[in-house]
């Protein structure tokens, strides 16, 4: 399976449903922080440029608030695409997951709560 | 019951009715046969005892074509069958005088034999039954000798009659749908094995069909070439299934659950299960319905609601 198919499989998203309306980028609260914008996540997958996607900064700026997922009129869900890219990166790193005990000392007071919640949401499986 | 006989005789004599449809005494207590009586002399062999199980309503189809009124003796459950036939214009109420005869559960000599009694010489119809046999005398309790259908009695009320004679009793002791539920709970393989075994006995004698008051077609599809479906004997096990499914389907919503099919089957196939499965489904999916309870009612298969359950939902065990 190539990287593009991998992203599609993990995210369960069909990028070709996108009609390029840009509502995801219009709705994203972390837009300014991102180098690749939410609507571009989709086009990167379409063009198979997963390498660039996996190297982007946006991946670590996305709050996983899922506003783009909620509001996407075509059910393309850019947030899930990015999430999938993140999974690929994490998998490449191998077994570097944290154990439950290791987390509390690492928690930064300044981290937005939403990030924690989204982490739970993301890794609940 | 003497009272029924006297009353029938009186109505025959005063010309109210031209003939009486009842039971004629047989060789023994237990084998009375359905019969028409037209004279006082003939009426001497009239009998109404607890072995008079036959449902006489179907004979009224032919009797309705005869001249003059026919007096018919109907037990409470038979009256449902009569009503159903009435709703389908198969019998003529104007030509019928109904004596609703009392019933406290009918007996079956098969069930006496099933209790292990052999070589029966005589038997009475009281509780318990006193049986004289070639191999000694014995007793069988009334309940044990009662027809299976009477254990799920429809009640003591006649739904149609001109007059009532005798007491009736609701003899139900079991849940009407217990057997159906038991089978529903089986795995598909078990269900298949159960019916395959039962239906493998079928000899296609058509007794179930011919006794059934709902199976009153002038010509059955299985006798006609309408569907290229004429059958006489089962050659392949498929035909048994075809026959019994279609027969049950054709009477679905019209079957009053009188139980005659199971009573007459020479191979003891529990044919009522097919009908009762449909009745149970109809009750669950489309609301309680008793065929024959109301001659004006519209049957469940000739009516609908916009939000009836989908077959796919029912297949998954749902009802809506």
């Amino acid at each position: 399976m190539n990287a593009k198919e991998q992203v599609q499989q993990i995210s369960g998203v069909n990028p070709y449903k996108c009609m390029k309306c840009g509502k995801c980028s219009a709705t994203c609260p972390a837009y300014e922080e991102m180098d690749i914008k939410p609507h571009q996540f989709v086009s990167y997958v379409q063009s198979g440029n997963i390498e660039a996607l996996a190297a982007c900064k946006s991946m670590w700026k996305c709050l996983s608030c899922f506003a783009c997922v909620e509001r996407c009129p075509r059910d393309v869900q850019p947030g899930r695409i990015l999430d999938a890219a993140r999974q690929i990166v994490v998998r490449q790193r191998g077994g570097n997951y944290l154990t439950a005990e290791e987390i509390p000392p690492l928690v930064d007071e300044d981290l937005p709560q939403q990030l924690l919640v989204s982490a739970y949401r993301r890794y609940k499986r | 019951m003497q009272e029924v006989k006297n009353r029938a005789l009186a109505l025959l004599k005063d010309g109210t009715v031209k003939r009486v449809l009842g039971w004629r005494i047989g060789e023994n207590t237990y084998d009375p046969e359905p019969a028409f009586f037209e004279s006082e002399e003939d009426m001497q062999t009239f009998v109404y005892n607890n072995f008079c199980a036959a449902n006489l309503s179907k004979y009224m189809i032919e009797a309705s074509k005869l001249e003059g009124k026919t007096l018919v003796c109907l037990k409470p459950c038979d009256s449902y069958s009569f009503n159903q036939l009435l709703s389908e214009h198969r019998v003529d109420r104007e030509k019928t005088y109904i004596i609703g005869v009392g019933c406290k559960g009918k007996l079956s000599i098969e069930n006496v034999k099933r209790a292990g009694v052999k070589g029966i010489l005589s038997v009475n119809d009281t509780d318990p039954l006193q049986v004289e046999t070639l191999y000694g005398n014995t007793e069988v309790s009334y309940k044990a000798a009662m027809l299976d259908r009477c254990h799920v009695c429809k009640g003591k009320e006649h739904v149609v009659y001109d007059e009532l004679i005798g007491e009736s009793e609701d003899t139900s002791t079991a849940d009407r749908f217990a057997q159906v539920q038991m089978i529903e709970a089986m795995s598909p393989a078990e269900k298949f094995a159960f019916f395959q075994k039962e239906l493998s006995k079928c000899i296609r004698c058509n007794a179930c069909r011919n006794v059934c008051p709902a199976c009153s077609c002038r010509k059955c599809v299985f006798d006609s070439d309408k569907f290229d479906s004429a059958q006489k004997a089962n050659v392949d096990s498929f035909e048994e299934k075809m026959f019994h499914i279609i027969r049950a389907f054709h009477v679905a919503g019209r079957c009053t659950d009188c139980g005659e099919c199971s009573r007459v089957c020479p191979q003891g196939i529990p044919l009522h299960l097919f009908n009762r499965k449909f009745i149970k489904d109809i009750n669950t999916l489309y609301g309680e319905y008793q065929a024959g309870a109301d001659a004006e009612a519209r049957g469940p298969l000739t009516s609908f609601t916009a939000d009836d359950a989908e077959p796919s939902v029912v297949a998954e065990g749902g009802t809506k």
Binding site: K20, G22, A67 | R298
Partner: protein
Amino acid sequence: MQRIGVFVCHCGSNIAATVDVKKVAEMARLEPGVVFADDYQYMCSEAGQAKIGAAIKEYNLTGLVVCSCSPRMHEATFRKCAERYGLNPYMVEIANIREHCSWIHKDMEEATQKAVILARAAIAKVNLNAPLQAGESRVTKRALVIGGGIAGIQTALDIADAGYEVDIVEKTPSIGGRMSQLDKTFPTLDCSACILTPKMVDAAGHEKIKIYTYSEVEKVSGFVGDFTVDIRKKARSVDEAKCTGCGVCQEKCPSKKTPSEFNRGLNNRSAIYTPFAQAIPNVPVIDREACIKFKTGKCGVCEKVCQAGAINYAQEDEIITEKYGAIVVATGFDTIKLDKYDEYAYSQSKDVITSLELERIMNAAGPTKGHLERLSDGKAPKEIVFVQCVGSRCSDERGKPYCSKICCMYTAKHAMLIRDKYPDVNVTVFYIDVRTPGKNFDEFYRRAVEEYGVNYIKGQVGKVAPQPDGSLLVQGSDLIDNKQIKIKADMVVLATAIEPNQGVRNIATMLTASIDTNNFLTEAHPKLRPVESPTAGVFLSGVCQGPKDIPETVSQAGAAAVKVIGLLAKDKLTTNPCTAQADELLCNGCSNCAKVCPYGAITYETRQVNDHGIREDRRIAVVNKALCQGCGACTVTCPSGAMDLQGFSNRQLIAEVDAICR
């Protein structure tokens, strides 16, 4: 035994590319009853039909099987062809080897095998076909138009001008429909009322047109040429014959708190009201929900002030039963509800409005007398944002999957009008695509950009946040500049998706006209029969069939009218001979078939039959051939199989099953 000819069509390469047509013909030749089989390039062509004719003569054929496209396409063609060459048209069966075979399969062997089986099934059926004779039914020379908008009015006018009676049934108190709510129309910027009102007046004054306003269709029975319709004329509480339309009652009415439907709830109306000044008929109705007299028994002001004595509180709903030969559905549209689109703050802010609301605001007769102002504070907006595709082209359940078609153009119109009248107002339009196919449409849009300076941004709005200062913070994306932009707007206008009117589903059910998943009525053929419903005698006009602008609606209205006129011009229609028939020797007379017949086509009679020498009087079902539409419900209800359907008989269908399962 039949002598059957089998004709396999190549349909150019449509069939022949995936189905080995020679093989199909070869295999067909081996089937019982087949005496001739051949293939040809285009069976439906003149030459193809001539080939069929020649074979009928040469082989003395009694039945035909044409393996070709769907019978819905060419069954009629081949039946006519058979008839032309002296064969009963109902001795023809079609094996659909195009839509159901060549077009959906890729593997030649597999497709050929399937085509052989489909041909076999059709041959098995024809072996049991019997010649059928079509009957005749009469045509009532009167049409019904459901809906009194521009589509309904135009259809009615065209039919009436051809000399046929037409009735219009309109649910609201006046005809006029959506178009009467519009201010200007694109791309010419005519005043909507100026072009609509004369048509309304024409319709009202036309001697062949009868208008039932404040009325609804309640029940439809019958069939093409002979529909019977119950129309509920709701109680107006005002005598139409006496009312002079002076308007005093509306002025004096003390109950003035009901949101005006006509003005989209932007302002209020009285309990006794006409929706708008040019209403036809110009007779008010009393809204009994709002009327004090009806609610409390006290009041009666309108009755007192009415010089004409037209007020009648005791009026009751009236059911009018009328016969029609044809019915046109012109029920129009509404905008979708926006309650699932929280992000646009439509329910939070009065200054977020739909485009239809903007039409009312811009209209001189509207709630603001035509002044562009914010509904929250009455101030003139300086910054307006338009959002396109709100609920359109949306694949989730919040919106509609289709393009609403009209929004691009009316938004350009709005933007242009605002910039024209209020040059100091900034107008921004967020768009996904701008779609302008149509005469002078793209030119119109370009004018908005080039001459009027409307700021078009390729992107969508993600969020509209009302601010404490009363402004609206619009956050959107600009995909060209690849940036997220925030605009502090005074007013946001949403190009809300349109959907068929609520009541259309009910009407479709009554008419047994089919409807698609979006509640648009289905046309008989998307290309070739776009104004006819699959149900004979029912025609479609306007948006009820799919999104349309005014010129398209008017042209479809005319087309529907032509179809109606074509139908009403006939004195008799040939009826479908595929009707039910009872075998008197098998019929039990049980009445169950009559219970399931939707047309009341089955009655019973007692007659003497001779059943193999036994003569007796029996109650037998009798089918009225003119009423029976051939659904077959009765055939399954009949346990003995006495009831059978000609053309789809038990034996025919079983033969098909056997042929397929063989």
